[in-house]
């Protein structure tokens, strides 16, 4: 195609209306959309950074690492994977949107990315002075699905480690108040078992389900070190009160007959009176 041919071909298309100028509003909308998406992804990145920071600081997750190799599974089990994955996706998305925006025009991406991450960390850090994390945690505990899904490792029953308040102390066992409810803990295999008192906060690693957790290590701790667990227990049981009556041990160790009776109560949804009947 010679020069004139190309020129005429293009001009012909323009004049005939086959090729039209895109409306300026399309570009305006594109710019606005890009700006809004970037702002939104940055805000969400800040929120998620704050939630991860809050989770690691206030829950028992990092405390399990102090048990060394014994605490690894408990740490992995209680790690907030979804929060971290979503945060990484948001960071990548923010970076991508940044490269598409005019702000990044001819500027080195490395510096911009560092600036962006710093901004997220600073604002996310500042947010820890608000009670945003606690509100989110509360929503997760009361069963708000969108909050619970991110805090699942905190609200669900754990099988490799737990933290809670000693509710009852017996020979080779402890009953703990945890945010997930009462849990029975076998302490037979614990070497160097510390002296624990009722009302004391402990953190433990081991293995097992809700009623047959076999502890391998137990350590005393303070509620200030795991404020989220403290709040979880208060949410579940109310404030710990020394005057609370002990739970009769027989309530925790049901016979097979009682178990099937309780199961029936659940299925028939007959309420507390039915459970009482089972126990007679």
């Amino acid at each position: 195609m010679n020069d004139e041919k190309l020129e005429n071909s293009i001009m012909g298309k323009i004049k005939s209306g086959k090729v039209k100028l895109k409306s300026k509003y399309v570009f305006l909308a594109e710019k606005l959309g890009l700006g809004t998406a970037f702002a939104l992804s940055m805000l969400l990145s800040i929120l998620f950074f704050n939630l991860i920071f809050f989770y690691l600081k206030e829950t028992d997750n990092l405390k399990y690492l102090s048990f060394g190799k014994f605490g690894i599974f408990a740490f992995l089990e209680s790690f907030p994977y979804l929060l971290v994955v979503v945060f990484i996706i948001l960071i990548v998305l923010s970076g991508y949107l940044l490269t598409r925006s005019d702000v990044s025009y001819k500027k080195p991406f490395g510096y911009l990315a560092i600036g962006m991450v710093l901004l997220i960390m600073i604002f996310g850090g500042v947010l820890t002075y608000t009670n945003l994390g606690q509100s989110f945690e509360k929503q997760a505990r009361i069963g708000n699905e969108s909050a619970r899904i991110f805090f699942k490792p905190l609200t669900d029953i754990r099988n490799n480690g737990m933290a809670g308040v000693v509710f009852e102390k017996g020979e080779d066992y402890l009953i703990l108040q945890t945010p997930q409810g009462l849990r029975r803990l076998e302490t037979k295999s614990v070497e160097n078992m510390p002296t624990v008192e009722k009302g004391q906060f402990i953190i433990t690693v081991g293995q097992g389900g809700q009623f047959n957790f076999k502890a391998t290590k137990v350590r005393l701790t303070n509620k200030e070190d795991i404020p989220s667990i403290d709040r979880g227990i208060n949410f579940k049981f109310g404030k710990f009160d020394e005057k609370n009556p002990n739970i009769p041990p027989e309530l925790l160790q049901f016979s097979e007959e009682e178990k099937s009776c309780i199961k029936q109560c659940f299925e028939l949804k007959n309420g507390p009176s039915c459970f009482k009947e089972c126990h007679k």
């Binding site: 293009i10 323009i14 090729v19 005019d102 001819k106």
Partner: protein, 186 residues
């Protein structure tokens, strides 16, 4: 007409004078064909892409930031089209004319590496094998006579990065020519 800048012409087109787009085509047709031919082997393909470039430019005229240089913007669109083409097909072959060969010979100082006279085909071969990351700034700098600033506008990268890529590209040409030279000597 010649006294009008590209940006002024674009302003007039956006105000309704569509005919003025002919002037834009006249001004850039040769330059862009020359540029595109450095990446595309087939002349027919190049012409098709050139047409696509001019149509895209026209359609997106409202997207042009009048505060920036029009030439960089149109080269940017041509660059994107060339890259898209190269993604779909095998890399194009660079063919240097005598003036261009002289240009790269002098500017890139390729003979300093070894006091030998290289064949034009050797330089073409090295350029063809080069990563597009280095090839693009080299082509824009040496064959399109663009400044670092313009290249940084077109490739959307900082000026320092343009400088680094050109320097690395140049060094890569030198070292590859040295290898070829050694082979010739054996």
């Amino acid at each position: 007409m010649d006294q009008l800048t590209d940006e002024q012409i674009v302003g007039a087109i956006l105000n309704g004078d569509k005919d003025l787009y002919r002037e834009i085509i006249k001004r850039y047709e040769k330059k862009l064909s020359h540029y595109l031919l450095k990446f595309l082997s087939d002349r027919d393909d190049m012409e098709d892409i050139l047409q696509v470039v001019f149509i895209k430019v026209y359609k997106n005229l409202y997207g042009f930031d009048v505060g920036k240089k029009f030439s960089s913007w149109i080269y940017r669109i041509a660059h994107n089209e060339a890259v898209n083409y190269l993604k779909k097909r095998k890399s194009g072959r660079i063919s240097l004319d005598d003036v261009e060969y002289k240009l790269i010979d002098e500017k890139a100082d390729i003979r300093r590496a070894a006091d030998k006279m290289f064949l034009k085909e050797d330089v073409e071969k090295v350029l063809n094998e080069m990563d597009i990351k280095y090839k693009e700034p080299l082509v824009l700098f040496y064959f399109e006579n663009m400044s670092y600033d313009e290249i940084s506008d077109i490739l959307r990268m900082p000026k320092n990065t343009v400088g680094t890529l050109i320097m690395r590209g140049k060094n890569s040409i030198r070292s590859k020519l040295e290898e070829i030279n050694k082979k010739h000597e054996r």
